[in-house]
Symmetry: C2
Subunit: 223 residues, 2 copies
DNA sequence: TTGTATTTTTTTGTATACAACGTTGATTCT
DNA sequence: AGAATCAACGTTGTATACAAAAAAATACAA
């Protein structure tokens, strides 16, 4: 772990600031799986008392980003290949649900917005800036989630995305995936424009499957 | 709210004891949607300090059972019909995923176990003890979740079940649903015995759909 | 009476104190 | 040397104290 820094902009209870800070640090990889989250240490580093730290840890724990053992404290949750497979299976089911719902409810404006995101994604691929690419991909999918009009589902998909984030970044580094990614996005967009539920479901399945396989390969290579 | 009582068996941090206690109280309906969760009051009632209460509230909040507004405190989360629809859609997708996975991985022993649960469910329906009936239904589905061999999915389905629990109990009170429930359980069992993935998926869809419609009716009536 | 300022009270947010537990490493005994 | 024991330290668990904000009650003026 290195320099954590509090992001003290608007008024938020410190527990939320700490929660966000730690979550980002975990996703970014600054805090590695298995690394202990010691209250006093974190409190000193972030310049707050143990109380907000403890509450943030309880939230991270419920979010699946940390595990705590009573009387021993919390550590960053790790992920085995099996864990990741499990998450990816769930994500596939929910992504398909989201796109199906979207195909029923999407407005013309949202279709246009999605078209923009597809284009923006294509553009940003050229920059080879992984952070930006990942964000553009998130933006694309967020339009779909929003169109699905199910906030609870949106929350769950965001949570699942978090769990995968670290590995998915690796996937997005591999340029040979780019043409396929672009095509898949385009197909999903076309399907939504036609409100073709079965088609978008199938395209999304392929899209997520490809990612899932790549992520699994990456994990296997890391072990 | 009435008599909350701490369930102080094995060693668990107080935050977990409080968390369980409050969760049960919310699900049982002792704590009603919108009811404020005041730290001092709860601390006094449960005989602990504010610290474990606060941590438990953070957990409930991440679990979706409570909502907290900064500087105003937490209250029991309510559910509109739309919220419930959203949850039920997700649950359907995940139940189907679970039963499909189960159809791939279920062992003969688990099929036998499931057969037992079907029988037990049938038996317990005669007692008209709602608590027992609900538990027997949970037991049935838990065998499937376990066979699906995806702990993360199990956790999510349990959480969704929690959110629905209060209303589902009403559904289980209506005796005219019993014959259909028995038949649906039987069909899912048969499908799993044959490892017929498409069939169990379809039966589960029907099963969950029926419940979903009933629950939605109950909510509509409550409003 | 009504509306507004002011104060009082209640409640949350944060820090800190102290106790209990676990771990580690030294020390003693075999 | 190796195992067992114990002491010292570090860490978490829990309670409490104090500050700050919000809500409620009160007083006062129109």
């Amino acid at each position: 772990m290195q320099d954590l820094e509090l992001n003290t902009d608007a008024y938020l209870p410190l527990r939320d600031v700490v929660f966000n800070t730690l979550r980002e640090a975990i996703l970014r990889g600054d805090l590695k799986p298995g690394e202990r989250l010691m209250e006093l240490q974190l409190a000193a580093k972030l310049g707050v008392s143990r109380t907000p730290i403890r509450e943030a840890i309880r939230m991270l724990q419920q979010e699946g980003l940390a595990v705590t053992i009573p009387r021993r404290g919390a550590e960053v949750a790790g992920m085995t290949e099996k864990d990741m497979e499990d998450v990816l299976q769930i994500r596939e089911a929910l992504e398909i649900l989201a796109v199906q719902l979207a195909s029923e409810k999407v407005t013309d404006e949202q279709v246009d917005e999605l078209a923009e995101k597809v284009k923006a994604f294509e553009e940003v691929l050229k920059t080879k800036d992984i952070k930006q690419i990942a964000q553009a991909d998130i933006d694309f999918h967020d339009v779909i989630y929003t169109a699905a009009d199910n906030p609870k589902l949106l929350g769950m998909l965001n949570n699942l995305r978090e769990q995968i984030y670290r590995y998915r970044v690796e996937y997005l580094k591999d340029e040979k995936n780019y043409p396929r990614l672009i095509e898949e996005h385009q197909q999903i967009l076309d399907g939504l424009r036609r409100r073709d539920k079965a088609y978008v479901a199938e395209m999304t399945r392929t899209h997520v499957d490809n990612q899932a396989n790549a992520v699994k390969n990456i994990i296997r290579r890391q072990e």
